[in-house]
């Protein structure tokens, strides 16, 4: 006995509210996302953070030595020297000590001890150079004997026990690092150790794409 036929409206109240709220939440979430997108600062590559390049002279990492080139007399078998590459960036001389991966190990081994997969052309007078930054989670490695793997002089990470055999391209001899330390090809020129190029493999904390683009930049310079 209803007086009026109840007509179904095209849009129920519930549906209207749901759509309205959904839209509001969506717009809100989007604007929030734009804020979150902004929390990552743009990459700024300061000169000190650039990759080592061909022609860079290796200088003492020890701050007390004021960036003097590493003397050949200090590089002996069984005694490594830590160094940074120093070279021209945009005309000015820069010690590239802005990132841990640029700290380098200069090691010397007796004739014939260094074997593949080391890049032998990148060694000179038994001197071989690697990045000091562990490929696992980026701690600085130490150089010491590691008898349990028969290594007289190995790069050993104090963080989680990554062990690298420096006579064989810093291959991972023990522990978790997913890749060998990155080697730098060098030549001894006029009593100084001079880089002949940048890292031969991907060093720590850089993506393939970034590595490729930074290398391209080096070639341009």
């Amino acid at each position: 006995m209803t007086r009026y036929m109840r007509q179904d409206p095209e849009l129920t109240r519930r549906k209207f509210i749901n759509v309205a709220m959904g839209t509001t939440v969506g717009v809100g979430a989007l604007s929030l996302l734009s804020i979150v997108g902004g929390v990552k600062p743009a990459d700024t590559l300061t000169p000190e953070k650039r990759l080592p390049a061909k022609g860079d002279v290796l200088v003492y990492a020890d701050a007390a030595k004021n960036g003097a080139p590493v003397a050949l007399a200090d590089i002996k078998e069984g005694q490594v020297v830590y160094a940074f590459p120093k070279g021209k960036v945009g005309g000015a001389d820069v010690v590239k000590n802005g990132l841990a991966r640029n700290q380098l190990i200069i090691a010397k081994f007796a004739e014939g001890q260094i074997k593949a997969p080391t890049d032998l052309a990148g060694t000179d007078q038994g001197i071989v150079v690697y990045s000091r930054q562990c490929m696992h989670l980026g701690c600085a490695v130490e150089v010491k004997a590691y008898p349990s793997k028969n290594l007289q002089e190995a790069a050993v990470c104090p963080c989680h026990g990554g062990v690298y055999d420096m006579t064989q391209g810093a291959r991972v001899a023990d522990g978790p690092p997913p890749a060998p330390l990155a080697q730098i090809p060098i030549k001894v020129i006029g009593g100084q150790v001079v880089a002949q190029g940048t890292f031969l493999s991907l060093p720590y904390d850089i993506t393939e794409a970034e590595f490729a683009s930074q290398k391209k930049e080096l070639e341009k310079a």
């Binding site: 990552k40 990459d43 696992h136 701690c139 904390d205």
Partner: protein, 427 residues
């Protein structure tokens, strides 16, 4: 005055609803309270530390040696150490953080072994888990603040673990820590500081509030003796006023012990590690509650890596995140394994549930094996024994526990028979 307040705020209702809540009296029921008190001490000491700490990596002349340039954060910690009671404040903050983690783990063990996580209290088990995880994250961010070389190395490893997440890791790490990890990254310490003193404490307080409200709503499980005194009745002392002095005594006792520790055992000597640098720290170890993850990181071999849909999955990710997450998931899942439909009133005797007891002990055995693996590096131990121990130790603990419980049970049954015979003989 009560009347005046009551007229305006209706506090008598608050009194009836919350302040009269009955607390069971049993020593293991105070572990949660100790966790809460440590949180309060951390908040109080933290506020005072924050008043003098400078969250910045900017280089300034060192507080101790003006000729040396060190990060401002590091210098400000040196200054705090020289303020009246400054070092003491740091020590109390540090020891309370340790106590908070220890107390929450023991609290959780109590809940687990007595079955208190069962229906209807599953939600509080999950909230408790989150509290534990966030407490540990808060402690790790706190550790990074002094920005000495130890802090910097820890932070570097944490950033590295975040960055190891496949596909999004690089972006995630740079978003969370303000760009790539570098000594002079100006955003990094301010970000970690923000997390440590605002975001994470806010999360902890929110979760703690929810945890306590749910506990009041659902009431404690009752200790076994309550069953004998008054079956299915809540037995305990009311929060106001009888429980309050007990809790206060406990709080003062705890504060006293923490202060004793703080007086005699120094914490984190920043001068020994020196300011943040790119040099290694020998024998670096995390705090005891993270040693198990550290051990896993050492155990995952270099070969554990593959590419999946363009994402790199490596030993850093598996060791730092995957295994730890799985372990936490197992803990989260604990209430799901329980099938009971009835609400639980009384704490259960652990030996009445030998499988649960044995499972818990085996689990801790596993964490212990992984923690010991954290020392593998120092002794140049091979990794293989640790894989074997990870299987053998939990299994052995499991079956030994079950055997011991059976033994106890049969002794008890024999005792009861003797008693019954004795009683019969007396008649």
């Amino acid at each position: 005055m009560n009347q005046w307040l009551d007229d305006r705020l209706n506090i008598s209702r608050l009194n009836d609803k919350f302040l009269r809540k009955a607390f069971p009296v049993h020593h293991t029921y105070f572990l949660g309270e100790i966790t809460l008190f440590s949180l309060i001490v951390l908040l109080l000491t933290g506020v005072f530390l924050a008043l003098s700490y400078e969250p910045s990596t900017r280089l300034v002349p060192s507080f101790l040696d003006k000729t040396q340039m060190v990060p401002a954060a590091y210098s400000s910690i040196l200054r705090i150490n020289f303020m009246p009671f400054g070092d003491m404040l740091r020590r109390i903050h540090h020891w309370s953080a340790n106590l908070m983690v220890a107390a929450s783990i023991l609290h959780m063990m109590r809940i687990y072994f007595t079955g208190s996580f069962k229906k209807p209290r599953e939600i509080n088990w999950w909230i408790g888990m989150l509290l534990l995880v966030f407490t540990i994250i808060t402690a790790v961010t706190g550790y990074s603040l002094p920005y000495d070389n130890f802090a910097k190395t820890t932070l570097g490893v944490v950033v590295g673990i975040v960055a190891s997440v496949p596909w999004v890791g690089d972006w995630l790490a740079q978003a969370a820590f303000g760009g790539k990890f570098a000594l002079d990254n100006a955003f990094m310490i301010p970000r970690v500081y923000g997390y440590h003193i605002m975001l994470l404490p806010a999360i902890l307080l929110g979760l703690t509030g929810a945890h306590l409200l749910i506990m009041i709503k659902q009431k404690h499980t009752q200790p076994q003796y309550a069953k004998r005194i008054a079956y299915k009745k809540i037995v305990g002392v009311p929060l106001s006023t009888q429980q309050t002095p007990i809790a206060l005594m406990l709080a003062f006792l705890m504060a006293g012990i923490v202060i004793l520790f703080a007086t005699f055992i120094p914490v984190h000597p920043v001068e020994v590690f020196g300011p943040a640098s790119d040099n290694p720290v020998a024998n670096i170890k995390p705090d005891w509650y993270l040693l198990w993850i550290f051990g896993i990181l050492e155990m995952i071999p270099a070969s554990a890596k593959f590419t999946l849909f363009g994402g790199e999955i490596g030993p850093e990710f598996i060791g730092g995140i995957v295994i730890a997450t799985l372990t936490l998931l197992v803990m989260l899942a604990v209430p799901i394994f329980d099938q009971s439909k009835e609400n639980l009133y009384y704490s259960e005797n652990p030996t009445d549930h030998p499988k649960r007891l044995a499972g818990g002990i085996a689990f801790f055995g596993l964490l212990l094996v992984w923690s010991v693996a954290g020392y593998k590096n120092d002794f140049q131990w091979p990794v293989m024994p640790f894989y074997v121990l990870s299987v053998v130790v939990p299994l052995v603990l499991y079956f030994v526990t079950i055997a011991i419980v059976r033994g106890i049970k049969s002794f008890r049954a024999a005792d009861e028979r003797d008693m019954a015979q004795g009683a019969a003989a007396d008649d």
